[in-house]
Amino acid sequence: MFGVDVGGTFTDVVAIRDGRVEVTKVPSSRVDPAGSVVEGARRLGVAGSPVFNHASTMGLNAVLERRLPKIAFLTTEGFRDILDRGTIHRPLDAQTDPAWRRTFGDAARPLVPRYLRRGIRERKTARGETLFPLDETQARHELEILRRTNVEGVAICLINAYVDPEHELRLRELVHEVLPGVEVSISSQTSPLAREYERASTTVIDVIMKLLFDDYAKQLDRELGELGFAGQLNFADCAANLLPWEEALERPFRILFAGPAAGTVSSGHLGQVIGRRNILCADVGGTSTDVSIIVDGKPFVQNTFEIEHDLIINALSTEVSSVGAGGGSLVTVSASGGIAVGPGSAGAEPGPACYGRGGTQPTVTDAVLLMGVLDPHGFAGGEFELDAGAAEAAFLALDTPVPFEERIRTTYRLAVAHMAEEILNVAVRHGVDIRDFSLMAYGAAGGMLLPAALELLPLREVVVPPNPGLFSAIGLLSTDQVYYESESAYVVFGPDSVEEIAAVYERMEASLRARLGEAAAGLPVRRSFDGRLVGQSWEIPFVQLPDGPITADSLAGVIAAFHDAYEARNGNRFDAFPVEGVTYRVEIVVPAEKVDYRPAPETAPFPAAPEGTLTLRHVAAEPIQAEWFSREALTTGATVTGPAVIRERLSTTYIPPGQQAVVGRVGEIIITGGAQ
């Protein structure tokens, strides 16, 4: 099985054969992005693999950096600025700032320049009636202008097209006629949901992603085939669910943001194997730490996703919060002369000072090296030596009265504190008791920094999974294929609306089964809806419907389930208020082959045999002696008492004084002690 995580700097390729993990890193290429993936597949031998699961930040980076193809946006006359105005929400820190502008607005960096946003004379009402017929002459005139500007794609989002797509379908025909060969996305097929701004921005992203990924996916499929790969090429979506590549390209806005969700899925899968259902997930990278949550075995999935403030996509996505603290976070001097950590990062180039690639500013990694936790000779699998002298010089160069020892100790503590704060924020936002949760610490620096969070947070434990540096890529091999359809209709739930609601679900289920064909045979359809109390503007998402036909009785149960979900989210309930459905969803899960954790037999704890001792500096007032262990040599039941360091090829785990670690049945390191 192959999992590939294409990042901005490196492409991580992971292959799992007979439970053995092989990995290679290939520099990502902007000129030939598929080439990097194929090179990784060639190195590890992709022939015979049943699946090749792929996640990429290529689309997201292109949107963030505005390296976009030239596209046009067609909407109802008078509405062409919906893309510019967004939802009108301002971030909290810009409430009183008159100079604040949306990052995607006309005064900043619009996704579609204003002259390529054209109004079309037509109008459907919210009930789907034709208020003004489509003016084809005027539409052709606008399309002629677009033809002269050489646009590569066209996004169409007409007002109320989610109720009746007639005008959008006809306009698409006209585009094909006047602009042959140009990619088109229409909102009534891309995201047929209420609220025109979100529908419009989703449709624009969709056509951009079509242009970015169409040739890429075809090249990937062809070249992997030439290497002997005959299995299924899947793309991961924003919730790390898998989609066959042809299906993904039908509505590619769903694959915009796949990487971070994969770590959450990986945590859920491992959690299931080791019996943990409540998990806080923290992926410590070079620049940031991504935090997500799994409650009762389920990741927290949301029905929209924000690329930048107010730039919203109607995609099911795993909720991930980020804080600017990671291994490469820069250490600076604050205005008061103290030590500050992040949010700036040294990135991959030049990287921390100790990498010896020209970086002169100290980072968290430099501090941990000077503490003695990192092995200067075995970093990143021994690919390069770390230069402790350069790290020391970088810390000495800081213009601060803080003593040298304290600079390093404070750097380490502040980095951990920033991460712990974000972990606590996520827990508080979800109203959970942190004492019931395990913290899954992954990313190459997760095990190095996060066990110390136990001293700040009363977590149940910290779990460092096997291969923490590759855990997100392994997540692509821990998930299923998920197909879904969604539709919007404002319907007040009650005995009179049973038929209308049932018809919506029947229509979507028939469409989904027709799309999947034989693959869906015998598989159940999961139904859910996003609803609200009548008069509200915001919905409670993913209220589940029971299996079986929708009747007056079952609808009463659904209404009760809505009030339960409302209470779980908001802490109060209003049973007397009627419930209004807004978005309806059907979903079919097709099981995919997953990474197979094979638990070893339960073993009584025994002290692990150290490989040697080392000296830890700047941890306490005086240097302290600690044992170090090789992770490869640690077997189930082995216990380690802190202070200790556990080293493996691509990662290091540091167990601070006062903590204990035990190796679990699939090789995970479970760390306790501290503030519990």
Binding site: D84, R101, G105, D106, A107, P113, R114, Y115, I145, R148, T149, N150
Partner: protein, 100 residues
Amino acid sequence: MVSDCHTFAEDSKEKPVQTFPRPSEERLYVERRAIDASCPECGGADIRAYRVLSEGGWWDAEKCQDCLASLSRVPAPALGSYVPLGTTVPAVSALASERR
């Protein structure tokens, strides 16, 4: 810029007090000055320069009249065409500067 004025003549049936003639234009338009250039986006030759009000305030723009692409767009004075008298009389603006 073409000027316009309202005289209240029809309302009051009195003789207008203004000394300039009533404008003949039905609507007020910004003058669009022709520019000798062609549009890099659509190849159009009708390029005009004029002031527009958009997100971020007033802009002096040079736009293609066929596709409306902006060939150039630079911030214009914040108050648009209105120029406070104090900034046009040297003695007054010098005095204001001294007081600041």
